[in-house]
Symmetry: C2
Subunit: 439 residues, 2 copies
C-alpha cells in the first residue's frame, strides 16, 4: 500500500490522516459525507482529485477544494494471495521465455481497488494458467511494464535486444505479452530487427482483462506458448482469437496484421492475405509459407539489428490537408515521412510544393493508402505520377503501420538514402505482397 499517484497538497492530507491507497476512509465534503476506499491515481492524472470507491462500487473524484475533512476508518489489507510453488515440469518440455511489456494479459485483480496486478513470475503464471505447465518449461522476464500506447522506437530496440538475448540463450521459442493498442506496430518492428531468427517469436495480447468472465487472456496465452513450443516455424507472429469464440486462434504474420476493432476478441486481422496458420483444439495448422526452425544454426552467433530511428513521422491525408505540417515535420528533424494517402496513393496538388521541398532536403517520403486494403498504384492518375516524379516512394500493399516501423528501422541501421529508398520498395520479410497461401 502506498499513495500511488497522489501529489502535492492532496498527498499531504492523506499523509496527515495516515491514509494509504486501499484504506477505508470517511471524507467530509461541502456536499456531505462520502465513505469508501482510497483508490490509486495514475502518474499523469490530474493532481487535484481524491478518488474514492464507494460502497455501490462506483468511483467518485473529489476535488481538493471540496474536502473539509478526511478520517481513516480501517487500514486496508492486501488481499491474501500466496504464490504456490512452481509445479515440477517435465524436463523434456520445450523451454519458453515469456517477455512482459505491459498490458493486462496474465494478470490478477486486486478486488479491493479494482487495480490489475500483472503476473510477473513463472510461478504466478502457472498458478493462474495451470495448463501452461503441461506445455512448456517457462521462464519469465519483465522488459518493461507500460500501456502499449506509450511504446516508442526506443522500446522496440530494448525489446528486440531482450528477444535476441533469449535466442542466444537457447530457448525453443519466445512469447511476448503486449498491450493490443500498438501490438501490430511492435510486431512489424521486431520482424525487421530480428530477421533470420531461428525460432518462433509470438506476440500475444488480450482484449478483455483477466477479471472478466469473457477474458481471452488465458486462451491466447496458452495458444501462443503452444505455438512457440512446438510449431516448426521461425519468424515473428501475432497470436489472437480468429473469431468471437474461443475455439480457434489465428497465427498472423507480424507484418501483415492490423488491429481492426476497438474491443472484439477477434480484433486482429491479416490484411490482404489469410492468417499464416491456426490453432484449434490444441492442434496447430501452419501454411507451407512459414519458414521452419533454423535447426543447425549456432544461436549464440545470432545478430540482432535493433537500432530504430525516432526521426520518422506519419501523416494521414484528408480533404483540405494542412500541407504546412510537412514542413513542420521536416523542420523538427524528420528524416523519413510516411504519407497515408487517399485511394491509390494521392495527396492534394496543393501539397506538392511542400513535398518537393521536403524531398529536396533529403527527407525520404513514402506513400501508403488509408484504404487499408489494396495496393498503392501511383502510375494510374496524374496525381500519382507527379508524386512519383517528385520522388515519393510507392509502397505497394504495405500497411501504414508497417511502413512506419520499417522506415524507422532502415534509418536506424544507418543505410544511405538511396539504399533506404530501394529497401523500402523491396520485400524483406513478407511486408509487401499479400497473397493466397499454400497449405
Amino acid at each position: 500500500m502506498s499513495l500511488q499517484g497522489y501529489k502535492g497538497r492532496l498527498k499531504d492530507i492523506l499523509l496527515q490522516a495516515n491514509c494509504s491507497v486501499g484504506d477505508d476512509v470517511v471524507v467530509d465534503t461541502d456536499s456531505g459525507i462520502i465513505e469508501g476506499i482510497v483508490m490509486p491515481r495514475y502518474q499523469y492524472g490530474d493532481e487535484n482529485n481524491l478518488v474514492i470507491k464507494m460502497k455501490n462500487g462506483y468511483n467518485i473524484g473529489i476535488s481538493y477544494e471540496r474536502i473539509k475533512g478526511l478520517k481513516l476508518v480501517n487500514k486496508g489489507k492486501e488481499p491474501s494471495f500466496t504464490v504456490p510453488p512452481k509445479p515440477t515440469t517435465k524436463s523434456a518440455l520445450p523451454k519458453i521465455l515469456i517477455l512482459g511489456t505491459g498490458g493486462t494479459i496474465a494478470s490478477r485483480i486486486d478486488y479491493r481497488t479494482g487495480g490489475v496486478k500483472a503476473a510477473l513470475t513463472s510461478e504466478e503464471l502457472y498458478h493462474l494458467v495451470p495448463e501452461l505447465s503441461e506445455i512448456a518449461d517457462i521462464e519469465t522476464k519483465v522488459v518493461f511494464n507500460i500501456y502499449s500506447e506509450n511504446m516508442t522506437p526506443k522500446h522496440w530496440s530494448e525489446l528486440a535486444s531482450a528477444v535476441a538475448d533469449g535466442i542466444k540463450r537457447g530457448y525453443d521459442g519466445i512469447v511476448i505479452t503486449h498491450g493490443t493498442d500498438t501490438m501490430h506496430y511492435t510486431s512489424a518492428a521486431l520482424s525487421f530487427a530480428l530477421q533470420g531468427t531461428p525460432i518462433p517469436i509470438a506476440l500475444v495480447g488480450s482484449q478483455r482483462s483477466s477479471d472478466r468472465p469473457s477474458s481471452d487472456s488465458a486462451i491466447n496465452l496458452i495458444g501462443a506458448v503452444r505455438f512457440a513450443s512446438s510449431a516448426d516455424a521461425s519468424g515473428v507472429f501475432v497470436i489472437m482469437h480468429q473469431g468471437p469464440g474461443d475455439e480457434k486462434l489465428a497465427i498472423h504474420s507480424g507484418v501483415r496484421v492490423r488491429k481492426l476493432h476497438t474491443s472484439r476478441r477477434d480484433a486482429f486481422k491479416s490484411v490482404d492475405t489469410e492468417p499464416l496458420g491456426f490453432i484449434e483444439e490444441n492442434k496447430i495448422l501452419i501454411s507451407k509459407q512459414i519458414a521452419g526452425r533454423g535447426k543447425n544454426v549456432d544461436v549464440r552467433s545470432f545478430n540482432v539489428k535493433n537500432n530504430f530511428s525516432d526521426e520518422v513521422s506519419l501523416l494521414k491525408i484528408y480533404p483540405g490537408f494542412d500541407s504546412s505540417l510537412i514542413s513542420k515535420v521536416v523542420d523538427s528533424g524528420a528524416k523519413g515521412l510516411v504519407l497515408e494517402g487517399t485511394g491509390l496513393g494521392h495527396t492534394p496538388s496543393s501539397s506538392f510544393e511542400e513535398i518537393r521541398r521536403a524531398a529536396g532536403k533529403g527527407v525520404i517520403i513514402c506513400m501508403t493508402s488509408q484504404c487499408i486494403y489494396g495496393s498503392v498504384r501511383m502510375t494510374v492518375y496524374e496525381t500519382g505520377r507527379d508524386l512519383l516524379h517528385i520522388g515519393v516512394i510507392p509502397l505497394g500493399d504495405m500497411l501504414s503501420e508497417v511502413a512506419y516501423a520499417k522506415l524507422s528501422w532502415l534509418l536506424g541501421q544507418g543505410y544511405e538514402k538511396k539504399e533506404v529508398e530501394e529497401m523500402m520498395k523491396s520485400n524483406l520479410v513478407g511486408e509487401i505482397g499479400g497473397r493466397r497461401l499454400l497449405w
Copy 2:
C-alpha cells in the same frame, strides 16, 4: 488542340515547330529518333519533359536536354464525335439533377491521346448510358471538375449550395458524380449541411474508368439515378457495388461509409452497420430506418447550412508520435483537432502536455479510433480517463473522416465552443451508433 500543361522552354520548342497536343511529331534525341503523338501535360507536372505516345502505345517522357530537334509530321484531328439529339423522355419521368464534380464516371476516351473527357451534358450522358432515358428526365450541371483528392471544405460549401439550389428548383432527386478517393468525406459533409433534405441525394463514383471493359461506372450511375428517382427516401447516400459482381449495388448512409480498398469495385463498405439498402435487378430494397420523402414540404424554403471551417486538422497517433505536431497545428490557427487514437481512444502520455496546452487555448479536441471498427471508450483505462479529464471529446463509433467533416461543419456554423462539444457527442444524422437494421 492546345499546348495543355506545357510551359517555358518546352512550350517554346513546340510553338516554333507549330505543334499542338495531339499532333504526330518526330523528335531527334541524343539517343535516336522518337516518333509519336504529343501528349497533354498536367497542371502540376514537371516542366522539363515532353511526353510522346509512341506507336506501341507506351508514353515516353523526353527531357528538354535530350531534345536535339522536333518536327511536325501531321496535325492531329479531334476524333469525330457527334453528340446525338436528346431522346424524347416521357414527361411523366422523375426529374433528376446530376451534378458533376470530377472523377471518371460517365466519361469518354479520346482514343488518340488516351485522355478522358467527361460527359458533361445530358445529351452525352444519354448517349453513353442509353438506359438513363427510360428512368429519368435528367439535367446536368458541372459544379467543378477536379480529382477528389483536391476537394477542400470550400468545395463542400459550393457543392452543398448547388444541391440546395436543385432541391429548391423541385427536382425529385439529385445525383452527384464524384471521384472515389474522398467521396466518403464529401458524403459526410453534405449529410450535415443538407440536414432535412426532402429528397434523396446520391453520391456515386467509379473504381474503373469508363474505357475499361470492367468499368463499374454505367451500372453505378444507373443505380444512383434509379434510386434518386423512385426510392421513398430522403437524406445523403453513397451508391456503389455491393460485391465484385455487377448484380447488386449497396445504398450506404453518407455518414457510416468508408473507402476500404484501393481498387476493388466494392471498395465502399458500411462500417459497424449494414448498408441501408440494396439495388438488385432494377429493384430497390431499403431499410425502414431511411426517412421517407418530405412530401408536403415547401422545397423553396429549404435552408442549407453550407458553411465549413478550414481551421480543423486530423492527426493519426502512432508509437513515438511527435506530439509537438499538436502545438504546430494550433499555432497555425486550428480551432478543432481530430485525433485518430489507438485502441479505445488513446494517445501516448508524452502527448498529454501538448493536448492540455491546446485545450487551454480553446481548441476543440476530439478522439476517434484508427481501428476503424468499434467504438472509442475512454473510461476503461487510465489513459482514456486522463484524456477525458483534459477535455478531449470521445466520439463513440464515429468514423475519423466523418468526425473531421462534422467538426469543420459545426465550427463553420458559428456555434459556441460548448455547443460544438455537445453536438460532436450527439447523434445528428446517424453518424454515431452503428446498429442492425429493420427491413
